[in-house]
Point group: C2
Chain length 355, copies 2
């Protein structure tokens, strides 16, 4: 409370902050030299370096990043857009993202599409107001993703797409993802090779590119195996446990009940699995369940989930690395797709049909 502070600097939240000026005064040099010491130490002589270092230590100086960002026109922040941070799969991607971002000196700001928080105007404002240096788009769930894309037509901010494939005629961006169609085919063919013929699918909202491609793979595999599935065996639902349970309930009521169900997501698979057991049926005895993602809860469900594993962390890392490249190069609108391998992991939720 005693007003014993006399140094220069601004007051913020009741506390002084030293600026570069104070350091310069104390070290007996100009502010330019201090700035150089910070950004390019090799440009200042040994002697001065020592003086500045000492001054910095005693003042406990640390550059005002706000001023730096302002001056440099760079925030060193990347906006990551994904459906939900709580999705165990995206969490893994996020881990990779954070690792890579930290290595490159970037911070992450997360925007969740499932919360649908921003209006189109807000998105445009955010893009145009330079709050982030680039965008990593992990879910172009309408309308958010497409709005970002169109808002960006005004102001070309580097964008990289992750996890899903955006049709290249819509927008030309680099992307990092697995081949969701191929993986969908593989999952479905695995069910077929186990002897299943009545194969249902629980998939996400129509707008979700991610699940669209998996569904496409499913349809292709069935077609190739000459299995007709034009009935009500494909159910769209929310990408959540509740959504999947609801979808499964519909599937169970189907006159010709499927003997296997391919879920577009492990979380949905968990929901579906629970619903099946609730109905007094067994997995995989009565119904086989196939998941997708290999999230961490997949291995400890009962039965453990047979699923498709994605290299989630690596997707995150690679996507950030690409994005950083584009940011640093100052050019966007490259269009290079990096396809990473997926892997079918067999556990206990798929078996041969009983009937």
């Amino acid at each position: 409370m005693a007003p014993k502070q006399k140094q220069q600097g601004t007051v913020f939240a009741g506390m002084n902050t030293v600026s570069i000026k104070e350091v310069a005064r104390l070290a007996g040099v100009s502010i330019a030299t201090v700035s150089r010491y910070i950004n390019a130490p090799e440009k200042v002589s040994e002697k001065t370096r020592a003086k500045v270092q000492a001054a910095i230590k005693t003042t406990n100086y640390s550059p005002n990043t706000l001023a730096q960002s302002f001056r440099r026109g760079r925030t060193n922040m990347i906006m990551v857009v994904l459906p939900s941070v709580g999705d165990p799969f995206f969490e893994q991607v996020l881990t990779g993202i954070r690792t890579a971002a930290q290595a490159k000196g970037y911070s992450i700001v997360i925007e969740e599409t499932q919360r649908n928080t921003m209006t189109a105007d807000q998105i445009g404002a955010m893009l145009v107001s330079k709050q982030t240096d680039g965008i990593l788009l992990l879910a172009s769930l309408s309308p958010f993703g497409t709005e970002i894309l169109s808002a960006n037509s005004q102001r070309r901010l580097p964008i990289v797409i992750g996890c899903e494939t955006v049709s290249p005629d819509l927008a030309k961006f680099s992307g990092v993802h697995i081949d969701n169609i191929a993986a969908g085919i593989e999952a479905t063919e695995f069910l077929i090779s186990n002897g299943h013929r009545r194969i249902g699918m629980i998939t996400g909202q129509v707008a979700s590119l991610l699940t669209q491609d998996r569904e496409l793979g499913y349809r292709k595999a069935l077609k190739k195996a000459a299995i007709d599935c034009s009935d009500g065996w494909v159910v769209n639902g929310e990408l959540s446990i509740a959504g999947a349970r609801h979808a499964m309930r519909a599937l169970l009521k189907h006159p010709e009940r499927p003997s296997a169900v391919f879920c577009a997501t492990d979380e949905m698979a968990i929901g579906a699995l629970h619903e099946v057991k609730q109905a007094g049926l067994s997995v995989p005895g009565d119904i086989s369940i196939m998941g997708f993602d290999d999230m961490r809860f997949a291995a400890v469900s009962d039965p453990p989930l047979t699923t498709i594993a994605q290299p989630a962390e690596i997707i995150g890392e690679r996507a950030i690395e690409r994005l950083c490249q584009e940011i640093e190069a100052g050019k966007s609108a490259v269009c290079e797709q990096e396809i990473l391998p997926h892997r079918l992991v067999m556990r206990g939720s798929v078996a041969a049909p009983s009937s």
Copy 2:
């Protein structure tokens, strides 16, 4: 490629941006007026308002938030520190956090302690460099949390603690949380009332305040019931599925195997449950399992988890509201604890002991 751009404004990532100057020129007013139009429209006359609005529209102007933040000394960002975004419980808290933050006009930057990403220096630098206006600390897991607290002794940034209780002699901060001790007692007493006497506990690392308090409640309840538990019935482990499985394995090897296990976290409970089933035992037949948090996977495990539900979203909302108050008031170091109610939810993982 054609150098046909001639307007004023800076170039960033290959694209011009209009500044307030350009708008002022176009509207035929001073930049001060434009600024006022944006921040306090009622201060500018109707006529001018129209002119400025038109100019803004045609230039597609949007204020440079970097410059604003710099000038105002406020970023409108809040740093949220938590163990991991992927933890389904914290995800729920995050939902509340985002909701409240958005309502108040703040963005969220997340720092995860489990990744242990920042060094003490980095933390100090971040605090001192004004990148965020305040901190919401949801996990003072050593050393990160305490480092933040001590780093902040230099520069008083508003801090609010969420979910856990920090001993007030360490630091005086406001907090929003449930009464973890009482909840721990309640959980344990529920097991006791079901007839259990050999009750184990799987808890987090010693440094985790969150689980410390729950463990304390457990001990208190046992003491009160005159049950001795000084043996190896309390196992510390990582706050993860793997950690819990490891701990459960130890518990199963115990000469006097517990008939019930209280897990400090639902995620750990899921791991423990799986491990029990792996060992060929049944839940709750052979061993009852009690969780904590009521995360979304708790209801769909097999058997569904009996657990303690926390008002996660509300904790997040209230914590942000408090933090914003402190930020706006400019004062920190208030010390008001807001205790929210918890609730025991009975499902299938707890029953009377068989023996």
